[in-house]
Symmetry: C2
Subunit: 314 residues, 2 copies
């Protein structure tokens, strides 16, 4: 059974996961990906976060975007545009194979877990990667333009509408991934890691799956979160903008507040050192680190810090 | 309403259709494509003959294969192979857009006719192109290896199994395309053309749709067929092999026999001149022509012959 479970969204989470994978025996690492931004597009089941983890870990990811495949071709999108089909969501030609085969196998009754397991084996992901649940959970963003499904908000509307609230449709009746539950209960477990992903769009859906938040809160092992906010800004994506629109302070401390009761150890950037007291007041230990993952070395360095935090407090 | 209706399979039929399109006002031409080799692959609805007509007519077709798109990319198939998915049927990246969008729209309840109409408009097909029916008809090949769906016989098994019989699953309850029925009844109609396509796999499914064979037989206008067999050989595909295995003579005359009662005028190659008497004995007029369509000029020349036959006998 894995000693470490990392909970991840897409781009930012994948980077820390890559760092972790470089340091620990892959059998000791379980990665749980958010599926709240999965969606059906043109009848295809797209799992953005799972695929970003896979592409990142196997060295296939397009480094300039952080998602999709490096050297991808785009013949499908060109023809789709000629046909007058929807072009707001980019599907690369190679990437399409994952969506088409996944959709086909899901319709045939297979679980997302089984499909992801096969993909990981075929593509060379060394550790176990699980969707947080096999049930449909869909992150819905309530905005000043109405309720938008996650990808419509994120990709089609480029995060422009003002966010009023975020909710997770289907979460209340979703079953957490059984293999995740087993790993959470296992005595071999040494630590849980919330990757520096968007707390509303990536970690939020995971915590909304019934039982997961409670089990993390009741866990006897360290639960380490890495702040996705550095110096009042998000490194990637709309986290800062959403926090502001939701009336929160845009700070590492405000992220810590969102994880209150769950997280035991909070890793924040050196630039936010002054927030340590506020975070400690929430009952968390803090750790200062370089959290900006510019390259492979900084990913590994941050992962090493996270492992040290777990080792020190477990 | 169209003056001419051409019934076509894939590669051979498309070539004659291209010749016809070069000579007649596109409003006067209706092309009806076989859908007996349509199939579901990886959850995608593939319409090989319709797409081959579209690609050929719009100058997109891969000239070295006769199907698919020239300059196509193959990233999807490469990744599908990496994932361990089925690779016996090649889906080009651009080509995939037609299948994905078609499948999506069919699942949403649209008719194949409406989708093909949109595709023709988007891609620049100048005449009207109709599927023979919007209902599922699936050509099944009974072989010494068991019953094979058309594409499994044709592509996966490369026409190697010995053919015992061909049947058209679903044909008995299929409704012919309503727009085709209307065109067949219209007084503007001047002629029907059976393109030089496989009589079992391309024209056979069309004739099996209830009412179509009878309406052609009862038509007052010339029904012209062009032989797909020249000098005892098929120019493309398994027609000759299938005729042999089904116990038929591999000849233009034997094809004419298959169309007995439907066709009024039979166009055969100069090399088969000696079969004219046999064909005339079936009650058909005959016309000798160069039927091998090597290039654009020979396509137009053969189309001109077909139009002359219709003009002369109408």
């Amino acid at each position: 059974m894995p000693k470490l479970i990392a909970f991840s969204g897409g781009i930012g989470g994948s980077k820390l996961v890559q760092g972790l994978a470089a340091l620990v025996d892959p059998r000791d690492l379980l990665v749980v990906a958010n599926t709240g931004d999965d969606f059906e597009h043109l009848g295809l089941h797209v799992s953005p976060d799972i695929d970003t983890v896979i592409y990142t870990i196997t060295g296939r990811v397009n480094p300039s975007t952080g998602w999709g495949i490096a050297g991808e071709t785009w013949s499908f999108m060109k023809m789709l545009a000629t046909l007058g089909g929807p072009t707001w969501f980019n599907l690369g030609d190679g990437d399409l194979a994952l969506h088409v085969l996944r959709s086909y196998r899901l319709r045939a009754g297979e679980s997302l877990t089984a499909i992801v397991e096969d993909y990981c084996r075929s593509l060379g992901v060394p550790f176990r990667l699980l969707p947080m649940t096999d049930d449909p959970v869909r992150t819905m963003v309530e905005t000043d333009e109405g309720v938008l499904a996650m990808q419509n908000y994120f990709v089609e509307r480029r995060c422009e509408p003002r966010v009023l609230a975020v909710r997770y449709a289907g979460a209340a009746v979703a079953q957490p991934n059984a293999a995740l539950l087993a790993a959470l209960c296992d005595p071999a477990l040494e630590g849980l890691i919330l990757c520096p992903s968007n707390p509303f769009l990536s970690i939020g859906p995971i915590l909304a799956v019934p039982g997961l938040r409670d089990r993390m809160a009741e866990s006897k092992v360290p639960v380490v979160a890495v702040s996705p906010i550095v110096a009042g800004q998000a490194l990637k994506g709309p986290t800062a903008k959403m926090m502001f629109e939701l009336g929160l302070e845009v700070s590492a401390a405000a992220v810590a507040q969102l994880y209150h009761g769950v997280v035991t150890d909070f890793v924040l950037d050196r630039q936010d050192e002054s927030q340590q007291d506020t975070i400690r007041a929430l009952g968390m230990r803090t750790c200062i680190a370089e959290t900006v993952m510019r390259d492979s070395e900084t990913r590994i360095e941050l992962a090493r810090t996270v492992l040290r935090v777990i080792g020190a407090s477990s």
